[in-house]
């Protein structure tokens, strides 16, 4: 049995230790907002937070996921996450939307650690998240907008 703390809830799961957190979240717990894109930590669609920091759930075995896991479904309860989500809506960032949960998780993690990142810092921090629709320019502006919102708050 593996114990996972996801979005403030405790889950006792009968899964093998090496099962990636992604599949435990999606197929066993049933939270479908975290996406499968590559399985080798190359695309970022599976990004969740562990103790507030972005991790790739597709290569994190459940045995290594002992911290507090947060998924996109709980981001609106996070003040930074909520601001990021709003910036995404204001700028119409999403096209197909499949990668955007992971993008938002990664952007929120960035802003939690660096409340006023430079353009280059944003680009470097977001370089691990692929978007095949090509929404990068709007993502960049949205992160700047979300960061600016904090200054005004």
């Amino acid at each position: 049995m593996v114990t996972l703390n996801i979005n403030g809830e405790q889950y006792e799961l009968d899964v093998p230790d090496d099962m990636p957190l992604l599949w435990a979240i999606r197929d066993v717990v049933g939270l479908k907002g975290t996406k499968f894109g590559c399985g080798i930590a190359q695309c970022g669609a599976c990004t969740v937070h562990m103790d507030g920091t972005a991790i790739r759930s597709c290569t994190t075995p459940v045995s290594a996921a002992a911290g507090e896991i947060t998924t996109i479904e709980a981001m609106e309860q996070d003040p930074v996450g909520k601001r990021v989500q709003q910036a995404w809506l204001d700028l119409g960032v999403a096209q197909c939307g499949y990668c955007q949960g992971g993008q938002i998780m990664n952007a929120t993690s960035l802003l939690k650690q660096n409340s006023a990142p430079s353009k280059d810092e944003i680009i470097n921090a977001m370089a691990g998240n692929l978007c095949r629709c090509g929404t990068y320019n709007r993502i960049l502006v949205a992160i700047e907008r979300a960061a600016g919102g904090e200054e005004q708050a």
Binding site: F36, G37, C43, A94, C96, Y98, R132, C133, T135, Y136
Partner: protein, 780 residues
């Protein structure tokens, strides 16, 4: 997600009308005439546009619009949402014409059913082009029924009432009735016929054609808000494998690595020991040509996706390459060499004007170049997947598919079911780009689900599956030769274009491009050159070739737009000026006159090749980019344009290459002319996205084959653009051109991107790239 579950309040008892025949002219048509629905009344003209598509079109309000007593307006979207924003745009078209309050609009996704909805194949940049007119008419009819219903209640002439926003007003008395209050009474009314429909004038529209969102760095407004926006940012949006179908099984399939190979035998003992694995079973393959049917192989079915993947890793499988024939010797390097060699000799002539031999003989200068574009995979971020539940003789499918009707029919065929007993629910697509126009993955899921009657099965493709078993973008060699006179003017142009054909997927390989492939920017070459010869030597297919966003426009634009730049360099002329000279005086080129019978399915009398619109986008993009301005060493601008999907695009890049060969893309200026714009904000997003995807085509994308096996299997080796590759700035310039028929949007932004970038690299470095992707060629 099924459409038929709710009782429509409005219009439920009105018999369905179809206007495939008998659309008559008349004053009511005037407002819509520029969208050409008035032309659909002769047999000859019905071959074109929406009427030429399987299932045709309908503008029946009963099919698309439902109004509940509480005022909720439910609009049915029958096109697949894959990032182009069609669910929002379709709702905007109907809500605007109807007068619906955006906050009271809901969108319901249609199941696959051409007989009810008309054509649903979301492909070819057709959704708005074909459906703007019918959907506006459907909404106008519903609005007029609400007005009539109010007039009846108030016992006043209908001329005195007018629909405002979500209510009908009696202007003389100021009385109002809400849409919800009128819906019940409106349902009994006749649907007005076409001659009495009155579309809103442009001045009365609230959403359509209005600029919203972020425009070149400035946020105008975020209204109307995207239909799926909040669900996407909160993780609630439902893509294929996210459907809630209760207790289910998950499956993956091991497929033959070489196209056409078959399963010899397999050992599943180790796989069955993996915790969670329930069953291992063979999947019937298809052989060649495969069409939309599965490749076959071995499926591992488990209680979760991870167990299925682990189970597959534990399989031991022997494949028989015999049936694959020479596909098992398909190796990209030697195939390319063979095509390049063949490109040096004459091939099948597809267009010939003037005397090329004579022109070349008299030329003062000759230029020749050969260009290569490799296979690519569409690689939507959501890999293919499908969920199927079978009960007795009925199947229900949930899948991210571009073509739900084809999904329904091919799943039914595989199962031996009546298509009427197959329900295809279309989820959101996590990207499509042509990959999900083929429903092979849904057929695979159905094959597995047949073994687990009553229990849903989700088939998941991994990224390795996606990249190794795609319906790949073709591979191409384009060889061009030109003769220039003593003034540098191009007097002779030879283009030999070689690529395996998509039609090899459906029939014995023709080894030549077919009409729709030639029509994607090859025989439609628009230059005004005295002697021009276009040839198509043979090229055979050894993998499944399929549609990739913009399709054969990609290699054609890549070669032609690169070569035109090379000619300007040879002539010592400015690239923009030279391109405009190649185009010559503004003129309309009838498609049949250049041998193009395709024209994206559109009537050539209505959609004509227009070189004036090409000039327009070239001038707009270069003016906006301040073409010709002084740039420091190592920096340069590149230009390309292309006409596709009956729209026009030009792109200018401003790039820098440092001494180490590192490329920085400072800015892209994209000018786009698609004629009338329904939702300009989503047109901009399509151009921005095409820009990034095109950068990937130029710099990174390549699937190569060794002995028939794809050599890239994940994003570590199949590289896609990241934020680090994106331009620092992308500016989209939409050409205001409302008085022509509407063009496509999803695809036409892509073809000129790669040649524009490579031309910019030349301007910055003097280094000419003729083989894509650029990869590390700048560092050599």
């Amino acid at each position: 997600m099924t459409v038929d579950t709710k009782d429509p309040v409005l219009l439920a008892n009105v018999s369905r009308r179809r206007f495939m025949l008998g659309v008559a002219g008349g004053s009511a048509l005037v407002l819509a005439a520029r969208w050409d629905w008035a032309h659909a009344n002769t047999e000859e003209e019905q071959k074109y546009g929406a009427a030429g598509m399987p299932g045709g079109w309908t503008d029946d309000p009963n099919v698309f619009i439902q109004i509940d007593a509480d005022g909720t307006v439910t609009l049915v979207n029958h096109r697949s949402e894959m990032g182009q924003g069609i669910r929002t745009s379709v709702a905007m078209v109907m809500a605007d014409e109807l007068g619906a309050n955006w906050d009271q609009v809901k969108v319901q996704q249609a199941v696959g059913d051409h007989s009810r909805y008309g054509n649903q194949n979301t492909d070819g940049s057709r959704s708005m082009r074909h459906w703007y007119g019918p959907l506006r008419r459907a909404a106008a009819a519903a609005r007029q029924m609400l007005e009539q219903s109010a007039a009846n209640q108030w016992l006043v002439p209908v001329e005195e009432v007018r629909a405002g926003v979500h209510e009908v007003v009696h202007e003389p008395s100021g009385r109002t009735l809400g849409f919800g209050e009128l819906a019940e009474a409106a349902r009994g009314l006749e649907v007005p016929d076409h001659t009495s429909l009155k579309l809103k004038s442009d001045g009365d529209l609230r959403f359509l054609g209005k600029e919203t969102g972020i425009i070149n760095g400035e946020l105008k407004s975020a209204f109307p808000k995207a239909i799926d926006g909040e669900d996407i940012v909160s993780g609630k949006a439902v893509f294929g494998a996210d459907v809630d179908v209760g207790d289910r099984l998950y499956a993956v399939i091991a497929r033959p690595p070489v196209y056409g190979a078959t399963l010899k035998n397999f050992d599943d003992a180790a796989a069955l020991k993996v915790p969670g694995v329930k069953k291992v079973m063979s999947i019937e393959g298809t052989g060649q040509p495969a069409a939309f049917k599965p490749l076959g192989g071995v499926a591992v079915v488990a209680t979760n996706t991870w167990a299925a993947i682990k189970g597959r890793e534990a399989l031991s499988i022997d494949w028989d390459n015999g049936p694959a024939e020479d596909n098992s010797a398909y190796t990209s390097g030697s195939y390319r060499e063979a095509l390049e060699k063949r490109s040096q000799s004459p091939g099948k002539v597809i267009r010939e004007e003037g005397d090329l031999a004579k022109a070349m003989e008299s030329a003062a200068q000759k230029v020749s170049a050969t260009y290569y574009m490799p296979h690519m995979a569409q690689a939507p971020m959501e890999p293919p997947n499908a969920t199927v539940r079978i009960e007795k003789d009925r199947a229900e499918v949930w899948a991210p598919v571009q073509n739900p009707e084809a999904t329904r029919n091919t799943v039914a065929e595989r199962l031996g079911f009546d298509p009427a007993n197959v329900i295809v629910n279309v989820t959101l697509l996590g990207g499509g780009f042509g990959r999900k126009s083929k429903p092979d993955f849904a057929i695979e899921a159905a094959s597995i689900a047949q073994t687990f009657e009553g229990q849903p099965v989700t088939l998941q493709w991994t990224r390795e599956d996606d990249l190794q078993h795609s319906y790949f973008h073709t591979v191409s060699v384009d060889h061009l030769e030109a003769g220039l006179d003593e003034n540098g003017k191009t007097i002779g142009w030879l283009h030999r274009s070689l690529s395996p054909s998509i039609s090899s997927l459906f029939a014995p390989d023709p080894e030549h491009k077919v009409d729709f492939e030639l029509g994607m920017g090859l025989n439609t070459t628009p230059f005004n050159i005295p002697a021009l010869q276009l040839e198509n030597p043979p090229a055979s297919a050894h993998v499944r070739i399929g549609w990739f966003r913009a399709v054969y426009n990609l290699p054609h634009a890549w070669a032609i737009q690169s070569f035109a730049h090379e000619l300007s360099v040879a002539a010592g002329r400015d690239h923009r000026d030279y391109l405009l000279e190649l185009l010559g005086e503004d003129r309309k080129i009838p498609n049949p006159s250049v041998g193009d019978t395709w024209n994206y399915g559109e009537d050539p009398d209505i959609y004509t090749i227009n070189t004036g619109r090409m000039r327009g986008v070239i001038e707009r993009a270069t003016d906006e980019a301040r073409w010709g301005k002084e740039l420091p060493k190592g920096r340069g601008m590149g230009l390309a344009f292309h006409h596709s999907f009956v729209s026009y695009t030009a792109v200018v890049f401003d790039v820098e290459v440092d001494d180490a060969g590192e490329l920085i893309i400072h800015r892209a200026d994209i000018a786009f002319d698609c004629g009338p714009q329904a939702n300009p904000e989503r047109i901009r997003s399509q151009m921005e996205g095409a820009c990034v995807m095109g950068i990937g085509i130029a710099l990174q994308n390549e699937i190569s084959f060794q002995d028939g096996v794809a050599q890239q299997s994940n994003f570590d080796r199949y590289l896609l653009p990241r934020m680090t590759e994106a331009p620092r700035e992308v500016r989209v310039h939409l050409v205001d051109n409302p008085d022509v028929p509407m063009g496509g949007v999803g695809e036409p932004g892509l073809p000129p991107v790669a040649p524009a970038l490579v031309n910019a690299i030349y301007a910055a470095t003097g280094k000419r790239i003729r083989s894509l992707p650029v990869g590390d060629q700048l560092k050599a």
